[in-house]
């Protein structure tokens, strides 16, 4: 188990370093001179030189890279050109909001997908199965930047039940969470159905039924618990994906999270903030995936033994 842990930790650190390196070189992909792009056409050469020095772009590239990496270890991500504030502070303010949205969306997804997936599996081949699978296919096909405005139109503008945007009011998280969680709910429902159908054909289910156990125990205890294994993995992996997907949802609902900060900073050409946001979301994604693998190995001993 210790070997497994060390290997997992090593892999998380390695991938984070590679991602960090990619993010560092991102600014050098800007066509032409990044400083001229950031300041626009009307900047004086003196302003351009000052910004170049502030960002350290006047130094040799390897020196810049070294300073960037040592800065990262101290959580120094540079300063925002727009806010005139350290990027790490901006991210620390916004990240909890994105995490809150992702967790709420995950909750919504579980609440929708579990009944749908179980219902479909228990009535496989009949109309409830077709209905719930059609619903879930539609769920996968609705883009969140369209679903969001539609929910606003119905629940905020027409029925006036929920706030349109922002995060200040008590139930402002509901619509963003549904918007972000719908696609995941659809994926989970399909996954749970497939997994349950597989388990329901296992011998131990037949044994449980032959013993005369009530259906609630057979399905609830024996079938569902075993069918949950692959679903748990997907859940963990998808939490990471939700952090990435939150970018669009945050823009739709004006949710003050990291995604909104990222898109606004792209529009302002505030590249240090863009780099910081991408780096932090990616590292969060990699870490969550690593933790999911760990949880999975803990639940399923076969993985530990194999490694």
């Amino acid at each position: 188990m210790i070997n497994y842990l060390l290997r997992l930790l090593g892999s998380v650190i390695l991938v984070s370093w590679i991602v960090g390196t990619m993010v560092f070189f991102l600014i050098h992909l800007v066509p032409g001179d990044p400083v001229a792009v950031m300041l626009g056409d009307w900047a004086s050469p003196a302003d351009e030189q000052a910004l170049r020095e502030q960002l350290g772009l006047h130094q040799p590239i390897m020196t810049q890279y070294w300073q960037y990496l040592t800065g990262l270890l101290k959580f120094d991500l540079g300063s925002s050109l727009f806010f005139q504030q350290p990027v790490s502070e901006l991210i620390a303010e916004r990240f909890p909001m994105t995490l809150q949205l992702a967790v709420m969306a995950l909750l919504v997804a579980v609440l929708i997908s579990f009944p749908l997936g179980i219902w479909a599996a228990l009535r496989a081949g009949k109309w409830p199965d077709h209905l719930s699978m059609t619903v879930s296919l539609i769920g996968v096909s609705i883009p969140n930047f369209w679903l969001g405005p539609m929910l606003i139109l119905l629940f905020s503008l027409t029925l006036a039940w929920l706030p349109v945007s922002g995060a200040e009011q008590p139930f402002s998280w509901v619509l963003p969470a549904i918007t972000l969680g719908t696609a995941l709910a659809a994926i989970l429902a399909r996954m749970l159905r497939a997994s349950l159908l597989e388990v329901l054909h296992e011998d131990f289910i037949r044994t449980a039924q032959a013993k005369g156990l009530p259906p609630t125990v057979v399905y609830g205890k024996h079938a569902l618990l075993n069918a949950l294994l692959p679903v748990v993995t997907i859940l963990g992996l998808q939490l990471g994906t939700l952090l990435g997907g939150a970018v669009i949802t945050e823009v739709v609902f004006d949710w003050p999270g990291l995604g909104q900060l990222l898109v606004e900073s792209i529009q302002r050409r505030d590249y240090p903030v863009v780099q910081g946001c991408i780096l932090i979301i990616s590292i969060a994604y990699i870490t969550i995936n690593g933790l999911t693998e760990l949880v999975y190995a803990w639940i399923d001993p076969r993985i530990r033994v194999q490694s």
Binding site: F145, W146, I152, L153, V247, Y271, V274
Partner: protein, 268 residues
Amino acid sequence: MIRIFSFSVVGLWVLLALFGFMIGESANQVSLESFLAGPNANYLFGTDELGRSVLQRVVLGAQTSLFVALGVVFFSFLIGTSIGVISGYLGGWTDRIITKIIDVFLAFPGLLLAIALAAVLGPGIENVVLALVTVGWVGYARLARAQTLSIRHREHILAARALAVPMPVTLYKHVLPLILAPLGVEATFGVAGAVISEAGLSFLGLGVQPPDASWGNMIKEGTRYLLVAPHLVLAPGIALMLVVLAVNLLGDQWRDYLDVKTRNTKDN
């Protein structure tokens, strides 16, 4: 029934995209006397805030999405499959290095990487294709590698090797035809993914720029008039959803067809 629906929607999508060439610049014609009009006899889908026909812009959006989807899937397929087949066929160090590169790309949230690339490369349809190909090739590479690994010890491939057939010929003539079907299914889902991603990037202002039409930027512009003119968001959104749904259904059916187990159950 499902097959008819999916083929009709995809067929209509392609037709609309071709029809877009006939509309050309007239879709960008501003006519302020008829701004934000609801659907009527003259304008079937109504008009937008500049009085432009929403129907014409939906047609142009179909063209944009089809162009991006075909471009992204073609290049991702070409690059990913080539890398995956070579990796699986050669094995050894080449395979190990390529697998590590694939792992790194998979460890990155795809949409975020596309956003980052589109942000630094600047807006524009070519940059959207470039950003989505950079993210999209990985899926094909992983699948092509796995498929190649499973067939590379087949007799006909060993025979080709023994006859000193050059490697590119072996890969193209003897390996590729056997692994093409699952890659085709992946490509179908890739079309749906590319359509949503293009619209998403354009929604964020990182893709196709106004006055050029994309379903994504139409939805973005329409959200400002949600209460007074919901048709601005409804029309491109429904078009987008139908296309993605139809393409996903096609992919599902093709996958089921290739899966012998499912086919047998259905036949019985």
